[in-house]
């Protein structure tokens, strides 16, 4: 094998006023021909900066301070701009995280692919079209003749990422840099894209630098692994070695923090229901103007389920499955078109607005986005006590309780007098949990409550929820797209697809003997599923 790229002692400086002087400090790595190197790290580890530096795409103010990157016997960091440009798209190519925004919305897919040839002065007009068609076929997009004329908004997220890959492969680059290319995709789509990248590597023998935060993905595709933290490499080695026998503390912590397939012991569940959903339906209608036809989407289609007192029920599904709509309907942020939502005997779905307001405290929610779920102009105390005070609890009492709850979620009582921007994402999720608890709810709905967090923070919040479940006998409807997370915390799991409830059962039933095809598909798509099984077995 020959070395495609070798980075030596790379240091990248951040502009003044940033939280640290260097984005990347003294980083070395090399990638062999035909090899997939995974660069793993949490947000702020410098993994994306390294990739951008190689492509000459560093944002303004950020610059390479030291080191070199040898590619085709040249230091790509020091090339004149014109030569860097000639290299980009031809010898090195890159795909990005957000397929929704990475394509020009006003240009046809075919033109965007053909543009790569034009940029490097290759082929004639008609040849370019033929080549684009061939590429679209190669990345297995359906109906290439149609796709070539389509605009990005007419494609799904997975299809756009395929189009991006087609574009990147156009001139048969020797090095493909993939920056979290599957993070924004559903698990089943992610599995397909990972397989596509593996296949293409096989066929073309290119080197791939694959950046990710997900060790599951690493287990799926990596030959070798580099773990980065705060701009430095903390561990490197063959994939099996790093995953199976991590040496550095940080790697161990990261691996431990990954929700494993280890199934918790089954608990005895109470017979009293905290939440009963019966025949719930929600239909969204779009269009329907003067001349537009009405389109119907059955977001929740005749779903019935029960959450027992003290139980954590996981609600799992891909985007568009209706799981979030179900959650929002259960707290009546969305009014259902039919069916019942019974909480402690009251049908929330049938209440008038005024009665509903008095019953709101019974079901509370913990939200997904830690940065949007707190009012930036309101102190934490206000955020937590607004509800209880509206309910008629005296201010003094509500404030005392708020301080107590802030202690319980591990922030300390003095957090109350501060504003949201003073807290990190994980801390904000704790505040969100305290806010929900302050209402003494019979049920908490957690809507992707840990999805936006880094793995190690995710693990801490999950620990907190587990602890609260024991201490306070909480009933939780835990909505997530991530089966691994659900397995960690939940007693039972419900699987949704296209608005329908596909399957519901205990965690053991769902994981060990799934009854439905779709559930099996989901389980198979979980990245690193095989590896986790080995891990669980050896543990």
């Amino acid at each position: 094998m020959s070395t495609t790229l070798s980075i030596e002692h790379l240091t990248i400086g951040l502009p003044q006023g940033a939280d640290r002087p260097f984005a990347v400090e003294d980083v070395s790595m090399s990638i062999e021909k035909g090899e997939i190197l995974c660069v793993v790290g949490e947000s702020g580890s410098g993994k994306s900066m390294t990739a951008n530096a190689l492509m000459g795409l560093l944002p303004p103010g950020v610059s390479v301070k030291a080191g070199r990157a040898m590619f085709e016997a040249r230091d790509v960091l020091r090339l004149p701009e014109a030569e860097k440009q000639a290299l980009r798209g031809a010898s090195t190519a890159m795909i990005f995280q957000e397929p929704m925004t990475a394509l020009n919305p006003l240009m046809r897919i075919g033109d965007q692919i053909a543009e790569v040839f034009a940029a490097h002065d290759r082929f004639t007009q008609s040849e370019r079209r033929e080549k684009a068609l061939a590429l679209i076929r190669e990345v297995q997009l359906p109906d290439p003749e149609k796709i070539i004329r389509a605009y990005p908004f007419q494609l799904s997220g997975g299809q756009r990422q395929r189009a991006m890959i087609a574009m990147a492969l156009a001139l048969e680059p020797k090095l493909l840099i993939a920056d979290e290319p599957t993070t924004a995709l559903d698990v089943t789509t992610q599995a397909q894209i990972l397989k596509l990248i593996l296949d293409l590597r096989e066929k073309r023998g290119m080197a791939v630098m694959f950046i990710t935060h997900d060790f599951g993905v690493v287990a799926e595709i990596a030959d070798r692994v580099i773990v980065m933290r705060e701009g430095r490499v903390v561990e490197r080695g063959a994939a099996a070695e790093v995953l199976g026998n991590p040496q550095h503390e940080y790697t161990k912590r990261l691996l431990d923090a990954i929700p494993t397939g280890t199934l918790p012991d089954a608990r005895q569940l109470s017979a009293t229901p905290a939440l009963e959903i019966k025949g719930l339906r929600k239909i969204y209608r779009t269009g329907g103007g003067l001349f537009k036809p009405v389109r119907e989407v059955r977001a929740v289609d005749d779903v019935s389920l029960t959450v027992a007192r003290g139980e954590v029920l996981g609600l799992v599904g891909e985007s568009g499955s209706g799981k979030s709509t179900l959650g929002r309907t259960a707290v009546r942020l969305v009014t259902p078109d039919g069916g019942q939502v019974l909480v402690g005997g009251t049908d929330l779905a049938a209440l008038s607005d005024e009665d509903l307001r008095k019953q709101r405290h019974k079901v509370q929610m913990v939200f997904q986005d830690p940065y949007a779920s707190l009012n930036p102009r309101q102190r934490i105390m206000g955020a937590i006590t607004d509800g209880p005070i509206t309910r008629g609890i005296p201010r003094k009492e509500a404030e005392a309780r708020a301080r107590e709850l802030l202690e319980i979620v591990g922030l300390g009582a003095d957090a109350a007098s501060r504003f949201p921007h003073e807290f990190s994402g994980g801390q904000r999720q704790r505040i969100g949990i305290a806010r929900a608890l302050a209402m003494d709810p019979e049920l908490i709905i957690a809507d992707e409550a840990v999805s936006a967090l880094d793995v190690s923070i995710q693990a801490q919040v999950l620990d907190l929820l587990r602890e609260l479940r024991e201490k306070l006998e909480l009933s939780i409807l835990f909505i997530t797209h991530d089966l691994r997370v659900a397995a960690q915390l939940c007693d039972r799991i419900a699987v949704m697809q296209k608005g329908k409830l596909v399957e519901i059962g205990t965690v053991h039933e769902i994981f060990l003997s799934p009854q439905q095809d779709y559930t099996r598909q989901l389980l198979a798509a979980v990245p690193g599923a095989d590896w986790e099984q080995q891990r669980t077995a050896s543990a």
Binding site: A23, G61, V62, L333, S373
Partner: protein, 279 residues
């Protein structure tokens, strides 16, 4: 804190503040700076500027002190600009907030109404209103407010719609707060920055509108204004250019100052543009 720091480190904005303070100072102390009335004849007509120390900017067609007229004109410009902007906010903010927050038919109705007013050429409507209701400071101010509120309503609606979608509003709903309370206490405070920026730019536009109306002879006949001065001197521009020139400069300086302040506020309140450099 850092907002003021960002604002005060913006040279353009500070120049704007300085210019505006000067204009405000002159407007407030006009009676002290000039012993005579701006309507009073003090010298022979058409006295060229820089010829008499007591009358640095010369006299107009009726022998009135141009400098004094400028000082008193500043009062009208600032007053009309400020009050009409406040009135426009009083119309636009509630309308936009209700449309953006409640959506549905409320939004549909409010936006049709706003679009209608936006389609009407605003200066032409202002002319019609002032012409029909007789030119007074009150009618001019009201007319300017009536033609200026639609952009406010659109801005507030868009802001409210984006804030409304954020999860803390759902949290407030789940806390059992009433809708009006959520709108006033949770949503509106988060829309204040862009409204402030727009308001500062609206004062500038209002001053331009007022001067244009006065130029056409639709000013309050009892108030000296810059637009009136230019309009009255229009026919003698060949012989006495300075009569049109100085009031125009006064308008440019005042409007420019307000625009500079508005831009400075925009940069200081929406720092995402300056933050881009960081990783």
């Amino acid at each position: 804190m850092s907002m003021w720091k960002r604002f005060s480190s913006n040279i353009g904005a500070m120049v704007g503040v300085l210019l505006l303070l000067t204009v405000i100072f002159i407007a407030i102390f006009a009676p002290l700076l000039f012993s005579h009335d701006p309507w009073q004849m003090v010298q022979r007509p058409f006295l060229a500027p820089f010829t008499m120390q007591a009358l640095p900017l010369g006299t107009d067609t009726l022998g009135r002190d141009v400098a004094a007229q400028l000082a008193y004109g500043a009062r009208v410009s600032l007053l009309v600009g400020l009050v009409s902007t406040l009135v426009a906010l009083l119309i636009g903010v509630p309308l936009g907030a209700l449309a953006g927050f409640y959506g549905g038919y409320v939004d549909e109705g409010a936006m049709r109404f706003t679009e209608f007013f936006q389609t009407i050429p605003n200066f032409a409507l202002a002319i019609v209103l002032v012409a029909i209701f007789e030119p007074t400071l009150a009618s001019i101010t009201l007319a300017i407010a009536i033609v200026s509120w639609p952009p406010v309503a659109r801005l507030v609606r868009a802001e409210v719609m984006s804030v409304r979608k954020r999860e803390f509003v759902d949290a407030a709903t789940l806390a059992g707060l009433s809708k009006p309370r959520i709108l006033v206490r949770q949503v509106l405070p988060n829309t204040v920055s862009p409204i402030i920026v727009m308001a500062s730019l609206m004062v500038a536009t209002a001053i331009l509108l007022e001067s244009s109306l006065s130029f056409l002879g639709l000013g309050d006949p009892n108030a000296m204004s810059w637009g009136y001065m230019i309009g009255a001197a229009r026919t003698v521009i060949r012989s006495s250019w300075w009569l049109s020139f100085f009031p125009g400069i006064a308008i440019v300086i005042t409007v420019l100052a307000l625009n500079l302040i508005g831009e400075g506020l925009n940069d200081a309140l929406n720092p995402h543009l300056s933050r881009k450099g960081k990783a």
